[in-house]
C-alpha cells in the first residue's frame, strides 16, 4: 500500500513540469484570436505593492536559481556514476543516485518558477514579450520540445536506476545521464540567447528595425551569447556543488547513526570539492565575458566596471573572499579526521595569511566615482597608499595567489593519509614544489611589471598569470596521480568524525554562492540601464531607472531567502517519500573504514 502511494506521488511530481509547459502553450494559443481582431496589448502592466520590476526580478531570479541547480547537478551525477562503473565502487553509484533524487524534487520548482516568469512577462511586460517572441518564436517552440525530452529522460534516468543496474543495461542508463545533460545544456543555450540578445543585439538592429525583420541566427548567436553559455555552465556546477554540500551538512547535523553521519560527511566533502574546483576556473570565463562586453560596446563595459556599478565589485570581492576562506577552512578542519594530516597543519596559518592579504587587496577599490568633498578628504583622486593596490595588476596577482593557495589546500588534503612508494617520490615532490614557485613567480612578475606599462598592455598580462596557474595545477595533479599509485595508507579517513562547526562553513558557502549569483545577475542585467534591449528597445516604464546596489541587495536577499526556504521544504518533502541512500562509506569508529584515499575525487 505504501509502495503504491509512493508511486502516485512520484508520477504526480513527474508530470507537473510537463503540465505547466502545456498550460503556457495553451495560453499562447488562446491569445492568438485577440491579436487577429486588431487588439493591441498595453506596453506595461501593474503589480501590486512591490511593483512590476521587483515582481519579474524575483520570478526570474528564482527560476534561475532552480534552473542552475537542475542543470549543474546532472553534470556531476553522471560523472559520479561513471566513476562507480569504471571503479566498480558501488558507493559512487549510490551517491550519483542521491544527487539525482535532489534533482528530481527540484525540477518541478524550476518549471513552476519558469511559468511564473512567463506569465509575469505576458501580464507585466507585454510589449517586451511581444517583441522578443516575434524574433525568437522558432527557438521557443524548440525549447518547449526539448523540455519535454529532458523531463522524460530525467524520469527514465532516476526511476530506471535500480532496474538497469548491471551489464549493458547500466551503460544504457549512463547514456541516459549523458542525454539528460545534453538536453539540459540545449535548453540553457536557447534561453541564454534571449537574454543575451537584450544585452548585445546585433549591430544592424536599430530602434527602427521591426522585430520581424531581425535575422534569427544573428540575434540568437549574438556577441555575448557564447561567453554567457560558458560562464553559466561552469557557474551551474559551482552552484550545484554548493547546494549539495549544504544538503549534506543538514543531513550530517541531523543524522541518527554513525553510518549516516559518515555518508553525509563524505557527500559534503564532495559537494565542496566540486564547488571549489569549478570556482577556480570560473574567473577565467568571467574575464572572457567582460572582454566581449567591452568589445560589443565600450560604454557598456565602462558602465559595468567603473560607472554606477563600480562599488558592486567591492561587494563581489568580499563575497569571493568569504568563499575562499570558508572553502579552505572546511578543508583544514577536515584534515583533523585524516591520519597523517597533522604534518601539514603548521602550514595552514601561512595559507590563511595569504588568503587574507589576497582578499584585502582584491577588495581595495580604485576607480570609484567621487565628488569634490570625497576627493578632498582622500587627499586626491586616489588614496596615497591603497590606490596602488586597487589596480588590476594587484587584484589579478591577489586572486591568482588565492587560487594557488586553495589548490595547495586540496593537494595537502589529498596526500594527507598517503605514503608514496615510487622511487622518485622526493624528486616528484620537489618538481611539484618548483611548479608552485614558478607559477607564483610568473604571477608576481607580471603583477609588478603591470605597473610600468600602459593599460592596454597590462590587460594582456592577466592571460599569462592565468596560464601559469592553470599549467601548474594540471602538471602538479598529473605528477601527484602518478606518484600516489599504489601508495601506502597512513590510516583510514574517519568519515563522520567532523566537528559540527565545519558544517556551518558549508551553509555559508551555499548562501554566499546563491547571493553572489543574484548579485552578478543584477550586474549583467543592470548594465542595460534604461533599455529593455540595449540601444534598441527603450524601457519607458516607471521603473526604467536602474536601482542602486542597496535596493538591489534587498531584492537579492529576498530571492535567496525564498530559494533556500523552498529548497529546505523540497528536500524535506523528498525525504518523506524516500529513504536516503547510504553509500556505506566508513561509519566512524564503529564502522568498517574505507581504504586509504577512498572518497577522494
Amino acid at each position: 500500500m505504501l509502495k503504491r502511494s509512493r508511486g502516485r506521488w512520484s508520477w504526480l511530481q513527474a508530470s507537473l513540469p510537463v503540465a505547466i509547459v502545456a498550460a503556457i502553450g495553451l495560453l499562447a494559443i488562446a491569445m492568438e484570436p485577440l491579436a487577429a481582431q486588431g487588439y493591441t496589448p498595453r506596453e506595461y502592466g501593474d503589480f501590486p505593492i512591490i511593483g512590476s520590476r521587483a515582481a519579474i526580478w524575483i520570478a526570474a531570479q528564482l527560476h534561475l536559481f532552480f534552473a542552475a541547480f537542475v542543470l549543474g547537478v546532472p553534470m556531476f551525477a553522471v560523472v559520479a556514476e561513471a566513476i562507480g562503473i569504471f571503479s566498480s565502487d558501488d558507493r559512487y553509484d549510490k551517491l550519483a543516485k542521491e544527487f539525482t533524487r535532489l534533482l528530481l524534487v527540484s525540477y518541478s520548482a524550476t518549471a513552476i518558477w519558469g511559468a511564473i516568469l512567463v506569465f509575469g512577462l505576458i501580464t507585466l511586460y507585454p510589449g517586451l514579450w511581444g517583441y522578443l517572441s516575434e524574433i525568437f518564436a522558432p527557438s521557443m517552440w524548440v525549447y518547449v520540445g526539448i523540455f519535454f525530452f529532458e523531463s522524460f529522460t530525467l524520469y527514465l534516468y532516476y526511476y530506471g536506476w535500480d532496474r538497469w543496474k548491471k551489464g549493458r543495461a547500466k551503460w544504457g542508463h549512463w547514456g541516459l545521464g549523458i542525454l539528460l545533460n545534453l538536453w539540459g545544456t540545449a535548453v540553457m543555450l536557447i534561453a541564454n540567447s534571449w537574454l543575451t540578445y537584450m544585452m548585445s543585439p546585433p549591430a544592424e538592429v536599430t530602434p527602427d528595425t521591426a522585430p520581424g525583420m531581425v535575422q534569427f541566427w544573428s540575434a540568437f548567436a549574438n556577441a555575448t551569447w557564447m561567453p554567457i553559455n560558458i560562464h553559466r555552465l561552469i557557474a551551474n556546477v559551482v552552484f550545484g556543488g554548493a547546494i549539495v554540500g549544504a544538503y549534506a551538512a543538514f543531513r550530517f547535523l541531523s543524522a541518527k547513526t554513525d553510518e549516516e553521519r559518515a555518508h553525509y560527511d563524505w557527500m559534503g566533502y564532495i559537494g565542496n570539492f566540486i564547488a571549489m574546483s569549478a570556482l577556480i576556473v570560473l574567473p577565467f570565463a568571467g574575464y572572457w565575458l567582460g572582454r566581449e562586453i567591452y568589445e560589443f560596446n565600450q560604454q557598456m563595459g565602462t558602465t559595468m566596471m567603473g560607472g554606477f556599478m563600480s562599488w558592486l565589485w567591492v561587494v563581489q570581492a568580499f563575497l569571493i573572499a568569504v568563499l575562499f576562506l570558508a572553502g579552505n577552512y572546511y578543508l583544514w578542519i577536515g584534515m583533523g579526521r585524516i591520519p597523517g594530516a597533522e604534518r601539514f597543519m603548521p602550514y595552514t596559518k601561512w595559507m590563511l595569511l595569504v588568503l587574507l592579504i589576497g582578499a584585502a587587496v582584491w577588495a581595495t577599490p580604485r576607480n570609484m566615482i567621487a565628488n569634490r568633498a570625497e576627493i578632498t578628504a582622500m587627499g586626491g583622486q586616489f588614496h596615497p597608499f591603497l590606490g596602488v593596490l586597487g589596480v588590476m595588476s594587484a587584484k589579478n596577482t591577489a586572486v591568482n595567489f588565492m587560487i594557488l593557495t586553495t589548490f595547495l589546500s586540496f593537494l595537502l588534503y589529498r596526500r594527507a593519509n598517503k605514503k608514496a612508494v615510487v622511487s622518485w617520490e622526493k624528486r616528484g615532490t620537489t618538481i611539484q614544489g618548483a611548479l608552485f614557485v614558478v607559477a607564483a613567480a610568473v604571477v608576481l612578475f607580471y603583477g609588478v611589471y603591470g605597473y610600468f606599462v600602459p593599460s592596454i598592455v597590462r590587460i594582456g598580462f592577466s592571460v599569462y598569470q592565468v596560464l601559469a596557474v592553470i599549467t601548474a595545477i594540471i602538471l602538479v595533479v598529473v605528477i601527484d596521480m602518478l606518484m600516489m599509485r599504489g601508495a601506502k595508507s597512513r590510516g583510514e579517513i574517519r568519515w563522520g568524525e567532523m566537528p559540527e562547526r565545519s558544517q556551518y562553513a558549508l551553509f555559508i558557502l551555499a548562501v554566499t554562492f546563491t547571493w553572489l549569483m543574484g548579485l552578478m545577475g543584477f550586474a549583467r542585467s543592470g548594465i542595460r540601464q534604461h533599455w529593455h534591449v540595449f540601444e534598441v528597445l527603450r524601457d519607458t516604464s516607471v521603473d526604467a531607472a536602474t536601482p542602486a546596489l542597496g535596493y538591489a541587495s534587498i531584492v537579492i536577499s529576498v530571492c535567496v531567502l525564498i530559494f533556500l526556504s523552498l529548497v529546505a521544504f523540497i528536500f524535506w518533502v523528498g525525504g518523506l517519500a524516500e529513504k536516503p541512500v547510504i553509500s556505506g562509506v566508513g561509519g566512524g569508529a564503529t564502522s568498517s573504514a574505507p581504504v586509504a584515499g577512498d572518497g577522494e575525487t
Binding site: 560607472g307 531607472a545 546596489l549 542597496g550 536577499s557
Partner: protein, 259 residues
C-alpha cells in the same frame, strides 16, 4: 536547536551582505531626461538640467569622474583648473562654448593628450537641447555661461526638422558623405581628419572591398590590427544613416584608395 542554529547562520550571512551593500555609496542609474525648453530659458534652468544629465543618465561621470579614462572636468586637471576655466584656451581661436559643443558633437577629434582612451561616440545619443544644457553646466564649472535660449531653440528646430533615422547628408559625393557622417573625426584621408582609427589613405590595398563594406555595416565584426582598444567606438548604426547608393559610393571610393 540545530535547526535554529542553521537558520541563524544563514539569515545572519544574508543580513551581513545586505548591510554591506546598503552601507556603501548608493548610485542609481537615472534615465536621461527628455528636455524641451522655450527660447526664454534661463541660465539657471540650463545649468540645473545639465548637472542632472551629467551626473545621472548621461553617464559622463563613468569616465570624467575619474582621471584614468578621461580628465576630471569638475576638479583641476594638470593644474589648468576646472573645465569652465580651461575650455576657452583648449583650441586656439575657439571660444569656450564652441569648444565644448564641438567636443560633444565630434568627440574623437578632441581627445585630450595624456594616454586617455578616445571618448565613446555618442554625439547622437542626446538631443540638441540636452547637449546645450551640458555645455551650460560645464561652462558653469568656474567659467561664464554663454549658452542662450536662442542656441537651444535653434537646436530643437534642427532636431525637429531632421528625418528620424534618415541619411545625414543628401549628397552622393564620397567626401561630403564622410564629412557629413563625421568619418574624418577618426580617420585620416590626404591630410584631413584625425589619426585615431586606421587611415583611409591606402585602405584599398590593405583590405578587400567586402571587408570595407562589412566594416561600415558592422564595425565590431572585425577590428583592424592594433586598434583593439578602439573597439566599440565606431557607431554601430552608421549604415542606417546612409542610403544604399551612398554606402556603395563610399565603399567604391575607399576601395579605390590604393596608396
Amino acid at each position: 536547536m540545530t535547526n535554529i542554529k542553521i537558520l541563524g547562520v544563514m539569515i545572519g550571512t544574508i543580513a551581513i551582505y545586505t548591510w554591506i551593500a546598503n552601507a556603501i555609496p548608493q548610485i542609481e542609474s537615472a534615465v536621461p531626461e527628455e528636455l524641451s525648453f522655450s527660447s526664454d530659458v534661463s541660465e539657471a534652468e540650463l545649468v540645473a538640467a545639465g548637472a542632472e544629465l551629467y551626473s545621472g543618465g548621461a553617464g559622463c561621470t563613468t569616465c570624467h569622474g575619474l582621471e584614468t579614462r578621461a580628465p576630471n572636468l569638475l576638479t583641476g586637471f594638470n593644474g589648468e583648473g576646472t573645465i569652465g576655466t580651461r575650455c576657452g584656451t583648449r583650441v586656439p581661436g575657439q571660444d569656450c562654448k564652441t569648444y565644448l559643443h564641438e567636443s560633444m558633437m565630434n568627440p574623437m577629434a578632441y581627445v585630450v593628450e595624456g594616454g586617455f582612451d578616445p571618448m565613446v561616440f555618442q554625439a547622437r545619443v542626446f538631443s540638441g537641447a540636452q547637449i546645450w544644457a551640458l555645455v551650460a553646466f560645464l561652462q558653469d564649472q568656474g567659467g561664464v555661461v554663454t549658452v542662450t535660449g536662442a542656441d537651444v531653440a535653434a537646436a530643437e528646430e534642427a532636431d525637429a526638422a531632421a528625418p528620424a533615422g534618415g541619411p545625414m547628408v543628401a549628397s552622393n559625393d564620397p567626401l561630403d558623405i564622410m564629412r557629413g557622417n563625421l568619418c574624418l573625426g577618426c580617420h585620416m584621408l590626404e591630410g584631413e581628419g584625425a589619426e585615431l582609427g586606421p587611415a583611409f589613405d591606402g585602405i584599398g590595398s590593405r583590405i578587400t572591398t567586402d571587408r570595407i563594406r562589412r566594416s561600415i555595416i558592422d564595425p565590431a565584426a572585425e577590428i583592424a590590427e592594433g586598434f583593439d582598444h578602439l573597439a566599440g567606438s565606431m557607431p554601430p548604426n552608421l549604415a542606417d544613416m546612409l542610403t544604399a547608393r551612398q554606402l556603395e559610393v563610399l565603399v567604391d571610393f575607399l576601395a579605390g584608395q590604393g596608396g
